[in-house]
């Protein structure tokens, strides 16, 4: 019996399953030769279990992911209710009042050579950090698109990701995977997991397609984590002592007028025990409240959500809103790859929707599996070890970064915000960074790996958006005067470029209408 790894079985559809299938199939299949030597990829999806449809925001990395899969960006826009996302605008996180800051996807101007954060400290009363260092915050606050219709597909004038309809996205990916990438789609319910002598999974039994054998099983079964969690008993490591949100109330809200402007960023508005997301798609808005059940009752959370809808979309929209409740246990599995089973998506863990880290983790996990697909069973344990180390590190960085949004608050108006600032809830790794950043602004030295999920610039946007103060070093450096001059020049270059982009970019809605009508060119 050969022990090469040729047959991959993905258990579970949804965005995690189909995105993983697409990423792996794009790497291991080619259009001319639809099935490469002995390689098989099948996805088993239950016809009875609806997908949860969480994750309507992506990172810019999704552009490369879709392009590699051979998807036309125009078709993606036309089929999945897609709009452009250029970052997030946070309201009320610092004081609970009118405060607001931007976390754009674009790095500060000439970030690789210059750290503008230090120099911004001297002008911080005159201009917001994001506005001073990059054009994007002003673009998305004016609901402008990140490109023109003449910009080729997937290319940009300023960096962007997407907002999308997760249900439509899964259907779109399924079609592409099956028709273009040779993925075998099996619609059946899994009824049993069958063990091999060595403890690996030999096959799964299904109700309508018998047993399906595989060399590698990818668990995309959602929060139930059927293979990794239920079958292998890999425990969930709870993070609820650090990040408290464990419920979400989600609603879909129509536009008052179908041609109303579409936000070009995610809006995140802090509440008394959580925050509300507001995502603009071309056809509707997705609005939801994620909160901590230890700090707020469902009714209380519902009142805040309906208030938000009434204020931003009218009383009628609030009266009509149908609200769906989702609960989750914030945390991740103790490991993600065990024997010949690896979990991707909610089966590997879920923290909360802040910073839209769910889909990007799917992309990163599937990409690593695609690139390092073990040639045989012997080498699989080593690949699994690397995978586990890498993703445990990534989860820790996500947790640090999400927690950063909470610990910088000055709010003391509810237990939720007070508890969020308790030392016992802050990871040591984050506390160390905060201590250092009191005296030096984050920069390249603060990241250890070349493929960090969050560049140090992201820390800058949150820190200086939330009024964090970095005291300049009391000893003056010989280079200070020179770099200050350079920084002032860069600030004014940025202001000029912002004006040019403001004058030349269409609105999010205008560009999306043009994509429907004309489409993007490939070049």
């Amino acid at each position: 019996m050969s022990n090469s790894v040729n047959r991959i079985v993905i258990v579970g559809g949804g965005t995690a399953g189909w995105l993983s299938a697409g990423i792996i199939a794009a790497e291991h299949y080619s259009a001319e030769n639809s099935v490469s030597e002995g390689f098989q990829l099948c996805l088993v999806e239950s016809p009875d279990i609806p997908t949860i449809g969480v994750g309507e925001g992506t990172w810019p990395s999704m552009r490369t992911t879709l392009q590699k899969m051979g998807i036309s960006e125009t078709e993606f826009f036309r089929e999945c209710s897609v709009s452009f996302k250029q970052g997030t605008q946070f309201h009320g996180w610092t004081t609970g009042g009118e405060d607001s800051y931007a976390h754009p996807f674009t790095l500060p101007h000439k970030y690789s050579e210059n750290n503008l954060a230090a120099h911004w400290q001297s002008v911080r009363d005159q201009v917001k950090f994001a506005d001073a260092v990059c054009p994007q915050s002003r673009l998305f606050n004016n609901k402008l698109a990140p490109k023109n219709i003449a910009t080729p597909e997937y290319a940009c004038n300023v960096n962007y990701g997407y907002h999308l309809d997760a249900g439509k996205f899964a259907d779109f990916l399924r079609k592409h995977c099956v028709e273009k990438l040779g993925v075998v789609h099996i619609s059946a319910n899994m009824t049993a997991v069958n063990s091999a002598d060595n403890g690996d999974i030999a096959s799964i039994t299904t109700d309508s397609h018998g047993a399906i054998e595989g060399d590698l099983f990818i668990d995309c079964s959602g929060s139930r984590s059927l293979l990794l969690g239920e079958y292998y008993g890999i425990p969930l490591v709870s993070k609820s002592h650090c990040l408290f949100n464990n419920c979400a109330l989600a609603a879909q809200v129509p536009y008052q007028n179908p041609e109303d402007p579409i936000q070009s960023c995610t809006l995140s508005t802090a509440q008394s025990a959580g925050w509300i997301w507001d995502i603009g798609l071309p056809s509707r808005r997705g609005i939801g409240h994620t909160y901590s059940s230890a700090h707020k009752t469902e009714d209380g959370a519902r009142v805040e959500l309906l208030n938000y809808i009434a204020t931003t979309a009218g009383e009628q929209a609030a009266a009509d809103a149908s609200i769906r409740k989702i609960t989750f246990d914030p945390g991740h599995r103790a490991k993600f790859w065990h024997r010949n089973c690896v979990a991707i998506g909610m089966s590997s863990g879920f923290i909360e929707p802040l910073e839209a880290s769910a889909l990007v983790l799917v992309e990163l996990s599937a990409t690593m599996i695609a690139e390092q697909l073990p040639a045989n069973r012997q080498i699989m344990d080593l690949v699994a070890k690397r995978f586990n180390n890498k993703f445990l590190y990534r989860w820790d960085r996500i947790i640090d970064f999400l927690k950063l949004h909470y610990v910088l608050t000055q709010r003391r108006d509810s237990e939720y915000w007070i508890d969020n600032c308790a030392a016992s809830s802050i990871p040591d790794s984050l506390q160390e960074l905060l201590d250092i950043w009191r005296y030096q602004a984050p920069w390249h030295r603060d990241t250890n790996h070349i493929d960090e999920m969050f560049p140090s610039a992201s820390f800058q946007y949150v820190l200086y958006g939330m009024d964090f103060c970095t005291q300049t070093n009391p000893t003056r450096r010989r280079s200070d005067r020179e770099t200050a001059k350079v920084a002032m020049a860069l600030f004014s270059e940025n202001a000029k470029r912002t004006e040019q982009l403001m004058a030349s970019l269409p609105t999010n809605r205008e560009l999306i209408n043009k994509i429907y009508k004309y489409g993007f060119q490939k070049i």
């Binding site: 219709i149 003449a150 004309y518 993007f520 490939k522 070049i523």
Partner: protein
Amino acid sequence: MSNYVILSQSAHKQTKVITERSEKYGDNIKYAATFPLEFRNIQACYPIFFSKSSDTGEFFPIALLGFEDAENLFLNESGWDATYIPMMVERHPFLIGYQVSSEAEEGKKPVVSIDMDNPRVNEDAGEALFEENAQPSEFLKYIMAKLESLHQGHEHSKGFISALTALDLLEPFTLEITLDNGSNNQLLGFYTINEEKLMQLDGDALAGLNTNGYLQPIYMAVASYARIRALIDKKNARLQ
């Protein structure tokens, strides 16, 4: 701004159109839009490239006339120095549209409009549009014929462009030019036929292009690149 009104004998019996080619009539342009049905004439004088509409992102063919904005190297004190003038330039100040009078295609009636704010339009100088007897002048008949061809050429061009993009035959290019005065210049933002891909097309693809009348203009565009040299010579001559 332009101010197009529908052309009629009653409203325009006194109207005249100046046909002289000059900067003051808006002829000092870097490029003119063209279409494959006039490529034979265009390639005899100008290099043919492709540009992208900023409004729709769609490609359209152009005849290159200069290297900088507002630089038409064919334009001098005595007019437009070339044996052929692109139809899209000649059409000014007229436009052709089609009025749909019934659901059927045959019901489409050509409607000619004239831009009354175009500096060519006046009542003193140039070509009259109508004769004393209210009949269209020879000039107007000539223009009408041009506009008809322009309309057909435009429709044909749409299919031509779709075929080029479907076969990935267009590619961006940068032209690096060193002028006699030693300055280095770059021409950016245009697209050209990808000759490597063109040579790799199989018989079916070539037959498809040929059947629709797209193959000949593709090779005419490729041949037209030889005109770049002449354009550079004109530019150098101006520098002296």
